[in-house]
Amino acid sequence: MATRETATSTTAHTEAPGGHAKGPFPPFDPNVFAPQLIWLALTFGALYLLMSRIALPRIESILEARRARIANDLDDASSMQGKAQAAGAAYEKTLADAKAIAQATAQATRDKLAADSAAKRKMLEDQLNAKLADAERSIAGTKAQAMSHVGEIATATAARIVSHITGKPADTAKIAAAIAATKT
């Protein structure tokens, strides 16, 4: 330091009035240029090598890995979502199918029951109609039978009346013919 100051003291009186530095303004001291440049070259060169060979490629790979991982995860998530949607759709379809089957079964059962009850009702009605017809028939028979006796009664009654009025037995054949004529 001492030699440096004496060597340059004649040239530098512009800086630091009242100061104690006898050398030039330190940043402009050409004596320290060489060591500064040498050490700057060494350290900056080392820094450049370390950064370009190790640090920057490493960070690049880290960022790349992270990007890939995030993209992967997003892909996974979207495929999961697709699966979930497919499962949802399948569930909906199963549900709709089951509903359709249930409705069809219910409809078939309803139809069958309706047909059964219609058949039973028809059978019952037929039976009732048959019974009704029987009854009507027997009523008609009885009525006819009764009506057939009406002629005889009328003939006998008429004969009695005639014999009572005339005093002599009546001709029953003529009476029957007369009654028959009135009936028609």
């Binding site: 800086e15 100061g19 940043p27 320290v32 060591p35 700057l40 880290i62």
Partner: protein
């Protein structure tokens, strides 16, 4: 030089050898400046290499900081020079980190600010300009000289314009280096002067009551210097990108 160090704001810039080394008659002494260059180198290496050693998918604090630095510089380079400029990314990144850490470490008390030496900043700026010129010539040959000949200029004006372009190109390394150097130098001198004020006022009897004023000032200035430290590193990096862009795409 041992007396009055508390008040001498220039003392902090003195380069003093810690170990004298001479190689072939050239002074290659390991100085305090060299020491802090090594400190900067170790600090950046620690952050960028030790910090990323785990290569975690989910980064820790240190790795986060390293990745932030990477992405910050990468987006600056990409934004200024396009993806083509990414081949200069390691250079710009090293410059940015070196300048940033020099500036920041220099703000700590009792440290030496590597970037407060004009020879250091000029060497870095020279490296940038040399890269621009060599790459520009290697890639574009004489077409690189179109950088100095803007298209669409009236022939009569051309010599004048070319002269201006040449001057502007030549002044680039000077402005690049002086900007950083002067910012660091002025900032550290201001801090030192304010700090010395506090000490002077405290030892000046009744005036000691107003000593908190420069103390408040120095706190604010320190915050401001932190901003400047980052900003100058950023400016250095982005101007490097702008100049490299000229080498990649000469001709306006």
């Amino acid at each position: 030089m041992a007396t009055g160090n508390a008040i001498d704001p220039i003392h902090q810039f003195i380069v003093a050898p810690l170990a004298n080394i001479r190689i072939g008659g050239i002074d290659a002494s390991f100085t305090n400046a060299s020491l802090f260059m090594v400190v900067v180198l170790l600090a950046v290496t620690f952050l960028m290499i030790v910090g990323t050693a785990q290569k975690s998918i989910v980064p820790g604090r240190l790795q986060s900081a390293a990745e932030m630095a990477y992405e910050f510089v990468a987006s600056t380079v990409r934004g200024t020079t396009g993806t083509e400029g990414m081949k200069f990314f390691p250079l710009v990144f090293s410059l940015f980190m070196f300048v940033l850490f020099s500036n920041l470490i220099g703000l700590l008390p009792y440290t030496f600010t590597v970037t407060s030496q004009i020879v250091v900043t000029f060497a870095l700026a020279g490296l940038v300009i040399l890269t621009v010129i060599l790459y520009g010539l290697a890639r574009h040959g004489t077409h690189f000289l179109h950088l100095f000949v803007p298209s669409g200029v009236a022939p009569a004006l051309l010599p004048f314009i070319v002269l201006i372009e040449v001057i502007s190109f030549v002044s680039r390394p000077i402005s690049l280096s002086v900007r950083l150097f002067a910012n660091m130098l002025a900032g550290h001198i201001t801090l030192k002067v304010f700090g010395a004020f506090v000490a002077l006022l405290l030892s000046a009897g009744g005036w000691a009551v107003i000593s908190p004023l420069p103390l408040v000032g120095i706190v604010a200035l320190t915050a401001f210097e932190l901003l400047v430290a980052f900003l100058q590193a950023y400016v250095f990096a982005i101007l490097t990108c702008v100049y490299l862009n000229d080498a990649l795409h000469p001709g306006h």
